[in-house]
Amino acid sequence: MALALTPSDRMRWTIADALTLTRRNLIHMFRVPQLLVFSTIQPVMFVLLFTYVFGGAIRTPGVKYVNFLLPGIFVQIVAFSAMNTGIGIAEDINKGLIDRFRSLPMARSAVLAGRTLADITRNFFVLLLMYGVGSAIGFRIQSGPLEAIAALGLLLLFGYTLSWIGAAIGLSLRDPESVQAAGFVWIFPLIFASGLFVPLITMPGWLQGFAKNQPVGVTAEAVRALVLGTPIGPYAWKAIAWGVGLLAVFVPLSVARYRRT
């Protein structure tokens, strides 16, 4: 075992350790496919519910409701997935695995990086699946492939950001059930006080102000503009600013929490 590590060795091992744990988490994910299935079924139910039950009562002038809805559903998927990040970490703490990892000479960031990288991979697959489901009920991307890729990139960045918030919550609460319960408290208001499912214009002014500036809301507006090919306005930079800003806060916060676990 080489003990004297150069900075470049350190960097190499930091990446290698993160990838080892990403691989471990992906093995979990595909070995317990229930989780993947259920994290897909729930948004599918939302799509069906909103398209066929509520959709008729929601006016989206100039846009087919399913085309309006799907970008919102994509954002909802990555938002709820942040809860899974926290649950996974809380489970590792409960099983004593975090102690095992902390007794190894591995990078301190690897457990969190590996978890969030695996979750970004899961998000990618669930988004792809949801795109398939949406297509089956009439969803069509109204812009071009470049805009679609930009929308996907924005969704993955935003999902990654929220994963780190989930990680911080998992490290703080340390119990999977509590993480799940807490998830509803912070994710639900952000999801429903936004233009994810209904046009902002029908909301009272003060709520519009909140919905147009909070992270989930701005990301939904930006993704929708990219998918529908409508003007994106200030939402692109707002979404990116929120993403990068939250990462800048929650990555160091989570890593610091992990060290003290």
């Binding site: 075992m1 003990l3 093995i27 102690d99 007794s103 000479p105």
Partner: protein, 319 residues
């Protein structure tokens, strides 16, 4: 304490740690010379696990210093981590990986190459008699198998110093024996071992020296024989029919009792001098005194007896 040498494999000097108002460690000193086995013996809550967690870099002490193979555990945690193996109090394995995948992962995290990690995993699975289960997910393993895998994981790096925190707690007797055999093999190979246990018998079987821990302090230290001499040889547990028999028995047994007896409503436990014929002698004396005997057992001293003798309180009070 006898010797204090910084070049011992494990050295702890005056370790202190509090959690809120609970004082877990109250100045623990330890020395484990290379190639030897030291057992930390104590009840739940004595501070054994806290001591292990500090020595394995999982926890920072409030005061005191500790060295593993000469590396300061707080200043050079990575050097310590690279040279130790830890099997914690609770089995820490990955349910959804196979045994082979789990050991591969640990190997990779020790920065072995892919091929090295794979072959080391195979080696350990064979050694721990898990090769048939290598491809099964860990959640299908029995408790004993999971514990063996757990121990295997702490040996991936061929550590010179191994920490085992209550390695056999919660295992059935067969699994316990199997694990003891594996640990004895490691000891023969020259591994330095710090072992915590609640079982005197376990410390007796595995450790060269034993440190008895209570309330975050080492209250006695020595070889198993030295400690036992302190506690007395053997114990006779007597169960009687009537309450009045307890006093009768106590009086009858007094000439061959060598320490403080502990009394129940219809039972008593007496330290007696070693030697053959002690049972016959006891039965003869009790019979002569007219004691209605229900049961009589001779046994070796237990952790409870150690604690009774050393601290004047039973080990369970701390649990």
């Amino acid at each position: 304490m006898a010797r204090r040498k910084r070049n011992d494999a494990i050295v702890a000097e005056g370790l202190e740690k509090s959690f809120g108002r609970v004082r877990a460690l109250d100045g623990i000193d330890l020395n484990v010379p290379e190639g030897t086995v030291v057992g930390l013996l104590g009840p739940n809550g004595a501070g054994k696990t806290t001591a292990v967690r500090i020595l394995t870099t999982l926890l920072q002490p409030d005061a005191g210093r500790a060295f593993v193979l000469g590396h300061d555990v707080t200043a050079e945690p990575d050097k310590v981590r690279a040279s130790i193996g830890l099997t914690g109090q609770f089995t820490a394995v990955d349910d959804n990986l196979t045994g082979a995948e789990f050991l591969w992962m640990v190997g990779r995290l020790y920065h072995m190459s892919n091929a090295q990690a794979r072959s080391r995993a195979e080696e350990l699975l064979t050694r721990f008699d898990l090769d048939e289960a290598a491809g099964r997910t860990v959640k299908t393993y029995s408790g004993g198998m999971q514990r063996r895998l757990d121990l295997a994981a702490s040996l991936v790096n061929r550590p010179k110093v191994l920490f085992l925190d209550e390695p056999t707690t919660g295992l059935d007797p067969t699994s316990r024996n199997a694990l003891w055999e594996v640990i004895e093999q490691l000891i023969r190979e020259g591994t330095t071992l710090l072992l915590t246990t609640q079982y005197l018998h376990e410390a007796d079987r595995l450790a060269d020296r034993i440190s008895v821990v209570d309330h975050g302090k080492v209250i006695a230290e020595g070889t198993s024989d030295q400690l036992k001499r302190k506690i007395g040889g053997e114990y006779i547990d007597i169960e009687v029919k009537r309450k009045m028999d307890v006093q009768l028995a106590l009086k009858a047994m007094a000439p061959i009792t060598v320490g403080d007896p502990s009394l129940g409503a219809t039972s008593l436990s007496l330290p007696v001098s070693n030697g053959s014929g002690v049972v016959a002698e006891a039965v003869r004396r009790l019979d002569k005194a007219g004691v209605k005997l229900v049961d009589l057992n001779v046994r070796r001293p237990t952790l409870d007896d150690v604690f009774m003798t050393l601290t004047g309180h039973a080990a369970e009070e701390d649990a």
